[in-house]
Symmetry: C2
Subunit: 159 residues, 2 copies
């Protein structure tokens, strides 16, 4: 479904999406039309979701990030979700199992901004906020190589 050459191409592109077809071709040992075709298909299949740039939020004045756990009040789930989606300062939001329904990332320019945004959902949900002090790991893709068969189920069976 995704052969070794594909994985190598992805690995290179994750590091620099502007790598030329020629360069990609050289690194994996194909011709550039072949690489072009492979990329086209990776995109078509949705493996590559997008070519994009990563922007430093600080450069835009967003000096603060926070992780917010959100528990909508009974009956307010959909309204809360819609609200979150419409507030552009939410840079990420996951719907999760457990007491907290949503876990979201917030980019703000100041503590005042943070307060202002949380106020907008305060009457529809309980929130708990954690300010981000450092980012030991910034967004990175999972391992591309097909290793990591450390499935615990097998270990359990074995014992």
């Amino acid at each position: 479904m995704l052969d070794d050459l594909d994985r190598r191409l992805l690995e290179i592109l994750v590091k620099d999406a502007r790598t030329s077809l020629k360069e990609l071709a050289a690194q994996v040992g194909l011709s550039s039309p072949s690489v072009s075709e492979r990329l086209r298909r990776l995109e078509e299949r949705g493996v590559i979701r997008a070519f994009t740039v990563e922007i430093d939020p600080l450069a835009l004045g967003y000096t603060l990030q926070a992780i917010v756990r959100i528990r909508p009040l009974p009956g307010k789930l959909h309204i809360v979700q819609k609200l979150i989606e419409e507030i552009p300062e939410f840079g990420e939001c996951d719907k999760v199992t457990g007491d907290d329904c949503f876990v979201a990332r917030l980019f703000v320019r100041s503590i005042g901004d943070l307060d202002g945004i949380l106020d907008r959902i305060a009457d529809k949900a309980e929130t708990s906020t954690a300010i981000i002090k450092a980012q030991p790991i910034r967004r990175r893709p999972p391992p591309l190589d097909a290793t990591a068969p450390r499935d615990k189920a097998k270990i359990l069976q074995a014992s």
Copy 2:
């Protein structure tokens, strides 16, 4: 520090980082060498952190994602952080204020994998895990336009 043209360029590139200089130039009304120079400086200044591709984890077999809150046991903070950084399935990790020291995102192929990875830090930290059921907002940058001056501090002063 970042003028309107820069912001428009970024906005286009976030949507498609492969947009040609010619196309960018046409859309903002400059010549391509000018655009090239602007991009060069945006990169140099660190505003653009990287050109990259966004990969669908599902395409790589990672059918499960989880948000893990991690509270290292006394004295184990650094060991835990190092461990997290070294486990490639952690796709993101923030160090935050509050009881939970770290909040991390985990990409796994199965529940068994999840268990296996959590076991590796179980003796050094308390963890609480939430499985991701849906992603209402996938990673997106904060608003590029300089609006959003909804600073609560001012509102407080006004009242």
